[in-house]
């Protein structure tokens, strides 16, 4: 958005002004919180996204009961924090300005995250935060979700299907043609980033099990063999892109399904059983309550319970042994844990939300049933959760074996980026610089990275400028850091022209061995008088994406309250990617990390 017309393009090359801003912290909380009644002890819970609605419901009921502990009532507040992101924040130092309230209870999707956290803390010489004698709220097994016709093509429901079958198909160059369905094209396996997502972590563990042929006793020694590493790298190579949550894949699949194209978007994705239930009732993001439903998909998903075994997400309730969690808060936190794990009403609610209750008092049944593509009697066996040191090693190795990325950062430097992100605080551009600087740490040598900026009236009337050509991140990430630091806000927002140019540029250098993607960060609407063709842009992107063998994904970040979120969403959808919402500009650092999780 235009704010300061007439500033010369040379100003883009300002240097050394803002390294200090790398330390600027976003203010404000990522979540809206209720005030704690003065006569109560407040208990903050950081919970993984898929159970937020449930926990909010349960917390509301609990708070209404005014349960007493330690002579005071207990008041619970729930914040959303993906499991991996919470683990990283806890192990590296929880910052309330960035991460939300310091949690008294941490509820990631799976207990394995507690082991990873304690391992990382012990490597730093710090005490453990996540007690091993935690209570589990509820269970949900990790399953392979497949569109029903595809599962049937593999022999479902009679045949026992395993990870090995799926991985073999994903690595087969013939794709679905090998199973008599060339119209479904390549076998598309979707997988999330194990540093963020529990299903991603579990899927990575199961890949290692498949590689070794083991079902238990996976050790660090097993992970290093060349055969195992080649196998795992081969699986990663078949991934289209990663992500911080499986809900992105399911949302995209749902959209494509409504257009009659679901079967070419996805072949299989590892998700929690509960997500299949949500998807099949028309709620791919799992936001609805049990008594609500959306438009059902044309092609439902079914759950494949892998024959080799799988892993359970047991939704632990860790009352953290963290420095900020004093005895009074622990006592209050345990009162909530006791309530939610033993109260029959609360436990029955977990079933209605599609989880398997952690209390044995509640029988399994609808909605976990065949009508929803699920089987309460399965899985028949599980894989053993590796020991903490092995888990940590798996995450280390993933950095080496993951599919490499080729990413162009396309940054809006229009005048409005100079507006304050929060009242009397840093500008949006300042925070964007911090976000990019921190996000760069996630790129490794072998990735490729470049930087373009866009605004109107650049030198020679250009609408965008290549500041760092796409090249090996070993050298370009430093260049990007330096160039970003010197940026300053300029003129208008030529969103359409810049986006299409970046897309074509990335397509021309497409690398089939990498995830090819553009991250567009924009805070405004297109205001380029020479190109106002929104429909043309979207048509070009969508047509190329469907027809090309060289797909480039565009991940837009809708930044600040004035961004053109509908258009940015359409750009993401046209390229089978995802929109990231940073309309609260203070959240940009966290949001940018989530975007980078795709690579």
């Amino acid at each position: 958005m235009r704010r300061r017309p007439g500033v010369h393009a040379a100003a883009l090359v300002m240097v050394a002004l803002l390294p200090a801003c790398a330390g600027v912290k976003a203010r404000g909380s990522p979540t809206t919180r209720s005030a704690i009644p003065s006569d109560c002890t407040g208990v903050d819970i950081a919970a993984s996204p898929e159970k937020i609605t449930l926990l909010e419901d349960v917390a509301r009921t609990f708070n209404g009961k005014r349960v007493q502990a330690g002579g005071k009532c207990v008041f619970v507040r729930v914040s959303k924090k993906s499991s991996g992101a919470a683990e990283q924040s806890l192990s590296q130092g929880w910052e309330e300005s960035r991460d939300g309230p310091s949690p008294n209870i941490w509820s990631p999707a799976g207990g394995a995250w507690g082991s990873v956290l304690d391992q990382h803390l012990s490597e730093k010489g710090e005490g453990e935060y996540a007690p091993t004698d935690y209570k589990a709220l509820m269970l949900t097994p990790l399953v392979i979700a497949m569109p029903r016709p595809m599962a049937e093509a593999l022999g479902w429901p009679q045949a026992e299907i395993g990870y090995a079958d799926v991985i073999a198909l994903a690595r087969d160059p013939a794709g679905w043609a090998a199973k008599g369905h060339p119209e479904w094209r390549p076998f598309k396996l979707r997988k999330t980033n194990p540093n963020f997502s529990t299903s991603g972590l579990n899927a990575t563990i199961t890949t290692y099990y498949a590689a070794t042929g083991k079902v238990r006793g996976l050790s660090s020694d097993d992970l290093g063999s060349p055969t195992v590493r080649d196998f795992v790298a081969g699986v990663e190579q078949s991934v289209v892109h990663y992500g911080d949550t499986t809900l992105t894949f399911l949302s995209n699949l749902y959209r494509e399904d409504q257009r009659g194209r679901g079967l070419t978007y996805i072949s299989a994705v590892t998700v929690e059983e509960k997500s299949i239930l949500d998807y099949n009732k028309g709620d791919p993001e799992g936001k609805l309550r049990p008594d609500q439903s959306g438009t059902k998909p044309r092609v439902p998903l079914v759950a494949i319970y892998p024959k080799e075994g799988t892993l359970f997400s047991d939704n632990p309730l860790f009352v953290l042994d963290a420095p900020w969690n004093d005895d009074a808060h622990k006592t209050a936190a345990r009162a909530f844990v006791d309530y939610v794990t033993s109260d029959r009403g609360a436990q029955s609610q977990t079933l209605q939300y599609g989880f398997r209750p952690g209390s044995p008092d509640v029988a399994l049944g609808a909605p976990i049933d065949a009508d929803n593509g699920l089987d309460p009697k399965k899985p028949s066996t599980v894989l053993e959760v590796p020991r903490p040191a092995t888990l940590a090693r798996i995450l280390d190795l993933w950095e080496q074996t993951r599919k490499r990325a080729r990413v162009l950062l396309l940054l809006d430097v229009s005048g409005s980026m100079g507006d304050e992100a929060v009242a009397r605080g840093p500008t949006k551009l300042d925070l964007a610089k911090q976000a990019i600087t921190e996000g760069l740490q996630r790129f490794s040598p072998g990735d490729q990275l470049g930087l373009w900026v866009f605004t109107t009236d650049l030198t020679g009337g250009a609408d965008y400028l290549e500041l760092v050509p796409v090249g090996d991140a070993a050298s370009t990430s430093e260049q990007v850091r330096g160039r970003v630091a010197g940026l300053t806000p300029l003129n208008g927002t030529p969103l359409y022209t810049a986006t299409l140019a970046a897309y074509r540029g990335m397509q021309s250098g497409y690398d089939p061995q990498r995830i090819n993607a553009i991250v567009v960060l924009s805070d405004g609407r297109n205001e380029d008088r020479r190109n106002d063709d929104r429909a043309g842009l979207l048509q070009a992107l969508a047509t190329t994406t469907k027809e090309t063998q060289a797909p480039v994904r565009i991940f837009p970040i809708s930044y600040g309250k004035d961004a053109d979120q509908p258009t940015l969403r359409s750009i993401a959808e046209a390229t089978d990617a995802a929109l990231y919402d940073a309309s609260d500009a203070a959240t940009i650092v966290t949001v940018f990390q989530a975007v980078v999780s795709n690579f």
Binding site: L17, L18, A20, C21, G23, V24, K25, R27, A69, W94, E95, E96, S97, S102, G111, G127, T132, D133, Y134, K135, A136, L139, P141, E160, V215, R216, G217, K307, E308, G309, F312, D314, P316, D321, A322, P323, W324, N325, D326, D327, A328, H329, K330, T331, D338, T341, R356, P357, G358, S359, P360, A363, L364, K378, P379, S380, T381, V382, P426, D430
Partner: protein
């Protein structure tokens, strides 16, 4: 230049602000082995604490409610804790409940040994008449019915050795089960954290030695270490402080068999049928039975006010009178000879509950319990 300086000043100020926003509630991180779960509550406001073994929670709750219903001058409040941990805390002077209902009277001895080790007088009164034997319950094996049928066909008797040997095979298929069941997976509580885990090790020791009341010399036998190590490798750890409940909630996919107190598993038999119909799980009695003698003792000392001391003794006496009824109502056996099953327990004969225990061993002496815990620590690394 001016704007650059201003930007730097603003940035530095914001960094400072960011640091200031990192407010954390600082406090000690000590944890209590005892979870306060309910309070007797009383008009006078004076209460004494009953520390109750977790597996006997329902029994204790009944006893406390019954006592407090009579409006005594001093009421009893209930808290829960694992007996082995409680023995450490009481022996170490970290906890001082006036009443303690433990999984076995041996834990009283363990606590007293701890107190002696630190030069203090004994913490628990264990003289004649001081300890009330309330109920008993053996360590038993619960197995999902379909798996139980396979084990029954494969082994002469289903117990510790059967499970040990089956777990050593390549998987269920190798012993006549379904391939889909994967490897034979066993669970029992952590012997460092839960009395039933520790007493499971005692039953394993007796089985390995092939005699009741195995002596501590078995702890020096490397073959016994290997035997325990084998079982630990087949063990799946489950979350929570009630291994029997966790076993049923997690289902046969996560664990095929569980060792725990008979009373705890009996409480889950109906849940097992509802959760995994139609048959749920079956109970088996290990070849060498260890029976927990659920016992109540008082910890009164010279500094205890007389009204509290009196209340503790009144509660103990009431418990002695009502023990048989409480045991029968809550899935325990009587404390007397033969350990007869009655009430809730007797109704589960179809699931394998035996009416009487032909022969059994008491809980081992503290030295043996201590040795088993050391071994477990070594095995689990």
């Amino acid at each position: 230049m001016r704007s650059r300086l201003l930007a730097l000043v603003v940035a530095v100020a914001l960094i400072g602000g960011g640091v200031a926003l990192r407010s954390r509630r600082n406090a000690g991180s000590s944890t209590s082995p005892v979870d306060s779960t309910s309070s007797g509550g009383h008009a006078s406001g004076k209460t004494i604490d009953l520390l109750c073994a977790r597996e006997a929670e329902a029994l204790c709750r009944d006893a406390v409610d019954s006592f407090n219903a009579k409006k005594p001058k001093v009421a009893v409040s209930l808290s829960l804790g694992d007996s082995s941990q409680a023995a450490l805390d009481i022996g170490g002077g970290k906890a001082r409940p006036l009443l303690w209902l433990a999984s076995s009277a041996q834990f009283f001895s363990l606590a007293n040994a701890g107190a002696r080790d630190r030069g203090s007088r004994e913490a628990v009164a264990t003289g004649a008449g001081d300890v009330v034997a309330v109920a008993s319950t053996p360590i038993v094996l619960g197995v999902w019915s379909d798996r139980a049928a396979v084990l029954s066909a494969h082994c002469a008797s289903v117990g510790v050795r059967c499970v040990h040997d089956a777990a050593g095979e390549s998987g269920w298929k190798a012993i006549g089960g379904q391939e889909a069941w994967g490897p034979v997976k066993l669970t029992f509580a952590d012997a460092l954290r839960a009395a039933d885990g520790l007493l499971t090790l005692a039953a394993i020791a007796d089985t390995f030695a092939d005699r009741a009341d195995a002596e501590s010399t078995v702890l020096d036998d490397p073959r016994f270490h290997d035997f325990v190590r084998d079982l630990e490798k087949a063990r799946t750890a489950l979350p929570g402080d009630d291994i029997a409940a966790a076993f049923v909630a997690n289902g046969p996919a996560r664990a095929d068999a569980v060792f725990s107190f008979e009373s705890s598993l009996a409480a889950q038999l109906d849940n097992g049928k509802r959760r995994y119909p139609p048959d749920g799980l079956k109970l088996f009695y290990p070849e060498r039975l260890i029976v927990a003698d659920i016992s109540l003792a008082t910890l009164v000392d010279d500094t205890t006010p007389s009204d509290e001391r009196s209340a503790a003794i009144q509660f103990r006496d009431q418990m002695a009178r009502s023990a048989a009824g409480l045991a029968a109502a809550h899935g325990f056996r009587s404390a007397g000879a033969g350990n007869a099953a009655g009430g809730a327990l007797a109704a589960h004969a179809a699931e394998g509950v035996l009416p009487d225990l032909a022969s059994s061993s008491p809980v081992p002496e503290p030295a043996m319990l201590d040795g088993l815990q050391r071994l477990w620590k070594e095995v689990t690394g």
